[in-house]
């Protein structure tokens, strides 16, 4: 283990369930946990499809830094950003790299000159959606869903609960302010019903995003005076989902319009690994005792879990 990457909690205890913990703050899933993650994502897809007919999109692992900066991401969250870098492709530089030790004794790569870093590893799945619909004039609400492996550097990591990379499923609505408010209300109700049927208790509470130097950030100050983020908190301290009203932050940033002005947007986000943690904590380490999220979602929505919604 390296400093800052301690692995308290379920790392060893849950290995038989298919959890492998990496000192980098990441986990591998297999077996029962991987199957549960799959059924959970199927449940979310069923909700998104039946509630709003949401269209699913899939996006790359990284996005251009210039795109993220359209909404000032790098000033707001520099402490969480992860940048994919590569060696400058100049052959002399590559030869110099190969001629060196390549790796140090602690596994650190002995880099030579780097190519300019222009990408950021996806910090939240929904950023791709706003960028992908840049310049769109909406005639009505647009409902989308996407999932991605997201990267956020943290001071410390815990298996499933706080990871450098994790899986985020999101529902997104772009439209008028009333449309996004209705979306959040509908989504929260559906998530509450899903959680109730899964017998996982949460409390919704007001939250803020983890801004760097928050008191100097106007967006953080706005979240304080006009709460726009609510988290579904399991066990009094673990946010397994969030409902976020962005107002026209992304509409203005990406020139997405509705009714002649910047569109509003809102998202509902789920951290899949945290849901796994909550489900297993609630129902125990015997997979036979676990509820089937997809089956529960099918009951909630009236759509068979194995069928396209």
């Amino acid at each position: 283990m390296t400093a800052g990457c301690a692995a308290p909690g379920p790392a060893a205890e849950w290995e038989p369930l298919g959890l492998s913990w990496h000192p980098s703050g990441q986990s591998s899933l297999s077996g029962p946990l991987l199957a549960l993650a799959g059924r959970l994502d199927r449940a979310f897809l069923l909700l998104a499809a039946t509630l709003w007919g949401a269209r699913e999109e899939r996006h790359p692992a990284s996005m251009p830094a210039g795109t993220l900066q359209r909404v000032d991401y790098l000033h707001s969250f520099p402490h969480q950003a992860s940048f994919p870098v590569r060696l400058d492709p100049d052959e002399a530089n590559l030869d110099a790299f190969r001629a060196g030790p390549v790796l140090g004794p602690d596994g650190d790569v002995r880099l030579t000159r780097l190519a300019p870093a222009r990408e950021v590893l996806t910090p939240a799945a929904c950023y791709h959606l706003y960028a992908g619909h840049e310049g769109t004039s909406l005639a009505g609400p647009l409902y989308l869903t996407t999932s991605n492996t997201c990267f956020r550097h943290e001071a410390r990591y815990e298996p499933l609960r706080r990871q450098w990379s994790f899986t985020m499923r999101e529902f997104v609505c772009m439209g008028s302010a009333p449309e996004t408010e209705a979306f959040l209300a509908e989504g929260r109700s559906a998530v509450d019903l899903l959680l109730k049927r899964l017998d996982v208790a949460v409390e919704w509470s007001v939250a803020t995003d983890p801004f760097f130097r928050p008191l100097q950030n106007p967006q953080y100050l706005m979240q304080r005076v006009q709460p726009s983020k609510h988290e579904a908190v399991y066990g009094g301290e673990l946010a397994i989902g969030s409902a976020n009203q962005h107002h026209d932050h992304f509409g203005a940033g990406f020139s997405i319009t509705r009714d002649g002005g910047p569109a509003s947007s809102a998202c509902i986000a789920f951290g899949i690994e945290r849901w796994l943690f909550a489900l297993v904590r609630r129902h125990g380490t015997d997979p036979a005792a676990w509820p089937d999220p997809a089956g529960v979602a099918a009951q909630v929505t009236g759509v068979p879990a194995g069928e396209p919604a």
């Binding site: 008191l215 106007p218 100050l221 706005m222 005076v225 006009q226």
Partner: protein, 103 residues
């Protein structure tokens, strides 16, 4: 409902609150070209209407600090503190130079 500074504001809202209201009205109107002065009262919601946006907050806080003569500890900002002009004046101007809003 008053949308203009009044002579009796000193008695009702404390010293300088009438001036503060007029100043806030002018400041908000300057930030919103499409906002008609007649449509802005002291109870007009500023946040839900987006007349007051995140980009405005640092300047507004500096403005309030200048008017009240003491700093505002933004760590104590809370939901609704900037809801409308009434709320801002009551919370930040009239409570006798407090350093925390009345939230």
């Amino acid at each position: 409902m008053s949308s203009e500074p009044r002579a009796d504001d000193h008695g009702q809202h404390g010293p300088g609150s009438g001036d503060a209201r007029a100043m806030l009205r002018a400041w908000i109107l300057a930030k919103n070209d499409d906002l008609d002065a007649g449509a802005l009262s002291d109870q007009t919601p500023l946040l839900t209407t987006r007349y007051l946006r995140s980009v405005h907050l640092p300047e507004l806080i500096l403005l309030l600090e200048r008017v009240r003569g003491t700093p505002i500890d933004v760590e104590y900002l809370g939901a609704g503190d900037f809801r409308d002009i009434d709320t801002i004046v009551t919370g930040f101007i009239t409570p006798a130079q407090n350093t925390e809003p009345a939230s």
